[in-house]
Symmetry: C2
Subunit: 131 residues, 2 copies
């Protein structure tokens, strides 16, 4: 069980990391990772965002659950994807599994790890950025 | 990772099973169970409903992800809860982990296993049955 977080700034830019490790090493990805035993998915999501970007997120809204067996080449993982906004453009600091962390305007111009392009599309719909 | 399904009939009754096994043996519960490796959560949900009630469900809508570490006395399980409707009152046939399966009008009058009362409340909101 993993979590991923789609964080938008007021200009609808999205906070992406570059993966430090395989799979998809060097590719853009949503901040996220494995939930610990004894931790709620929301707490795991906040912890992973903090570890990888240095930022604290507030309310989390569930976008969906993604469970296609082929979504992760390491094996079958199920992710719960959340979305939120940060009220002003906060400055991320990369850490843990993230080689970098930055606000990205045109995420469609980049290769994204796993099924994160699909999650981003769904989160944009949830937020009313696209219909 | 588990799944649970909140199925309403046209009169807003809900399809509940009685648990054949511990924990909560004999209590009412939503149809559901563990997702298999290599199976999507939606496919696992359809399979569990079929095994426990004999019914086939159509479109599934995600209600939420429930991950309180204390929600299952056996250990930490995370469930994805879905909801759907059956167009006419189908006749369930209990099987597998279900000692019985039936449409229940006033589910609040009964003890429900796990956090299924909370899931039912959230599903009723999603369906517009309660505000």
């Amino acid at each position: 069980m993993t979590v991923d977080c789609v964080i938008f700034d007021p200009d609808d830019r999205v906070l992406l990391i570059r993966r430090r490790n395989e799979p998809f090493k060097g590719a853009f990805a949503l901040p996220g990772g494995f939930v610990d035993i004894g931790e709620t998915v929301e707490a795991g999501c906040r912890r992973e965002v903090r570890e990888e970007t240095g930022l604290d997120v507030g309310d989390l809204h569930l976008v969906g659950v993604y469970s296609d067996p082929s979504r992760d080449p390491r094996g079958h993982t199920v992710t719960a994807a959340f979305t939120t906004r940060l009220p002003a453009a906060a400055v991320p600091t990369a850490g843990d599994d993230a080689a970098s962390a930055s606000w990205v305007g045109d995420w469609r111009a980049n290769l994204l790890a796993f099924d994160h392009a699909q999650i981003l599309e769904d989160a944009e719909k949830w937020q009313g950025i696209v219909s």
